[in-house]
């Protein structure tokens, strides 16, 4: 069985990487809309 501290650390890593990936996805969403807005203004 893994020690409890390892489990906690793993759960922290899981949360951290999930949030980072979610932010990356959201950034792609906003970036393409922003790019279109700027293109539209030009």
């Amino acid at each position: 069985m893994e020690p409890k501290a390892d489990k906690l650390e793993q759960s922290r890593r899981v949360k951290r990487s999930a949030i980072v990936l979610g932010l990356v996805a959201f950034a792609f969403y906003l970036a393409f809309i922003l790019m279109s807005v700027l293109g539209f203004r030009q």
Partner: protein, 535 residues
């Protein structure tokens, strides 16, 4: 191996909830995987029924059964259902079942998010299917949703856009779960380059999904604001540019093709070594080839839109970058052939489907190369040649690989063997049907028959009739697939712990059927070394 077996057969490791709650509140990766696979199967038959409406209408020239507008709705809905409802959820279902078992993890890293990702789908597709009953009918402008045509849709428009947003959110959350699971929950001793190819191809697929699904969401959000809030992103009258939509859409759309096919490469890379009784040839080159294909998929999008007009430099860039994809794909095909070379091959149903994949996907790849050539594409664009090309890639490509995977892992999932004779009958009817269905469409396209039309000139009559006969053979033979699975689960022979004697991987180290909770105790380094790719 004995240790792992006993560790996972304790009764207290196998308790599971019962009734509706088991599925509604499911957090177990196997339950969620099963729900994804069942959902994909339902969508496959619904999308297939729409395909049969299309082929029945095209059986002979003239209008037979449906009016042109409904015909266009059928082509649009068929594509949306098959891509987002059947193939993608089927891969997510396989990932849910296999990724934790193959990397030695007890479950997906984010089980509740997993439940949410799945349950978004029934709502999304209910919304999409409801469009069949609203004034103006279902969307009919093609799955690509090109403006200005898609902006002229009736009441179906907001429902379709909302449905696509829900599908996108579901895919992104599912992909985040796969990445996080693989990066954080591998058993001790399992490096990235020890992982089975299925996990590798899914990891790459998941990164693709995270990058491109938001782009589709952005594109359809802008369509929505153009339709309802007076913006002019894609409306020429307001200073917008409809071609910009095509660029954004295909920046999503081309990687999407690889999202559909990369996990197929993984499944085939598991099955061919097992039934050739040899290790996979060139494991590392397979990984790098998959990553190269994924990278190249981001820089080839405009080959879908050569005919909109673009500078010569652009045409050349997109033509040559598209052709470059043949290099890593060729590496893969070479490696699969080299794996079989001098192997002791047997031809069980999963292997038959994998071999058909190898030959028929390659045909789809070759016609893709033809379409990459700019002046040739000017001839082929929007013709049945394109329809033949992408169906060769997606049906005997992605769909056959899904079926191969289901036949391969079904004994491990259910503890029962399927009926090999009916499995082989299913394979031969599917393979004959799919070729009779799609091969003549190459001839129709080269002769000039445009896609997405309910009626055609009499010169195209013969091959359309042949194609429709193939469609009905292929379509109805899929009922056998459901029968084989049903029959195996209900009354199949008991499967041994390792139904395929050469199968390698941590999934095969588990008892059969795989216990409800597997790898609660991570496998030891010895078990990992025994069950994974070693260098």
């Amino acid at each position: 191996m004995a240790n792992t077996t006993t560790a996972h057969t304790h009764d207290d490791h196998d308790h599971k909830p019962h009734g509706l709650k088991r599925w509604l509140y499911a957090t177990n990766h196997k339950d969620i995987g099963t729900m994804y696979l069942v959902f994909a199967c339902v969508m496959f038959f619904l999308g297939g029924a729409m395909a049969l409406v299309i082929r029945a209408e095209l059986f002979q020239p003239g209008l037979q059964f449906v009016d042109p507008s409904f015909f266009n709705s059928m082509t649009t809905m068929h594509a949306l259902l098959m891509i987002f409802g059947a193939v993608m959820p089927a891969w997510t279902g396989l990932a849910n079942w296999m990724v934790p078992m193959q990397i030695g993890a007890p479950d997906m890293a984010l089980p509740r998010l997993n439940n949410f990702s799945f349950w978004l789908l029934p709502f999304a597709f209910t919304l999409l299917l409801l469009t069949l009953f609203v004034p103006g009918g279902a969307p009919a402008g093609g799955w690509t949703l090109y403006p200005p045509l898609s902006l002229q849709a009736g009441d179906s428009f907001p429902l379709t856009i909302f449905a696509i947003h829900l599908m996108g959110i579901s895919s992104i959350l599912g992909a985040i779960n796969v990445v996080v699971t693989i990066m954080n929950m591998r058993a001790p001793g399992m490096g990235l380059l020890n992982m089975p190819l299925f996990c590798w191809t899914w990891l790459i697929t998941a990164y693709l999904l995270i990058a491109v699904m938001p782009v589709l969401a952005g594109a359809v959000t802008m369509l929505l604001t153009d339709h309802f809030f007076g913006t002019s992103f894609f409306t020429a009258a307001g200073g917008g540019d409809p071609v910009m939509f095509q660029h954004i859409f295909w920046f999503f759309g081309h990687p999407e093709v690889y999202i559909l096919i990369l996990p197929a490469f993984g499944v085939v890379s598991e099955i061919i070594p097992t039934f050739s009784r040899k290790p996979l040839f060139g494991y590392e080159s397979m990984v790098y080839a998959s990553a190269s294909i994924a990278f190249l998929s981001f820089i080839v999008w405009a080959h879908h839109m050569f005919t909109v007009g673009m500078p010569l430099a652009g045409q050349l860039f997109f033509m040559l970058s598209t052709m470059l994809i043949a290099v890593p794909t060729g590496v893969k095909v070479f490696n699969w052939c080299a794996t079989m070379w001098k192997g002791s091959i047997s031809f069980e149903t999963p292997m038959l489907f994998s071999l058909a994949f190898l030959f028929l996907f390659t045909i789809g790849g070759f016609s893709g190369l033809m379409l990459a050539i700019v002046p040739a594409d000017f001839q082929y664009h929007d013709s049945y040649f394109v329809v033949a090309h992408f169906h060769y890639v997606l049906v005997p490509g992605a769909v056959f690989a899904i079926m191969a995977g289901v036949y391969y892992w079904l004994p491990k999932w259910s503890g029962r063997m399927y009926n090999e004779k009916i499995g082989k009958l299913h394979f031969w009817l599917s393979t004959i049907g799919v070729n009779v269905l799609f091969f003549p469409q190459h001839f129709l396209g080269l002769a000039g028959m445009p896609r997405r039309i309910p009626d055609y000139s009499t010169q195209f009559a013969d091959w359309n009739m042949v194609s429709s006969v193939g469609a009905f053979i292929f379509g109805f033979s899929q009922l056998l697939f459901v029968y084989v699975i049903w029959n195996a689960v209900r009354s199949g022979e008991k499967a041994p712990q390792r139904p395929w004697e050469s199968a390698q991987g941590l999934d095969w180290e588990l008892p059969t059927p795989a216990p409800y909770h597997s790898w609660e105790t991570p496998p030891s380094r010895d078990v990992v070394a025994q069950g994974t790719v070693q260098h």
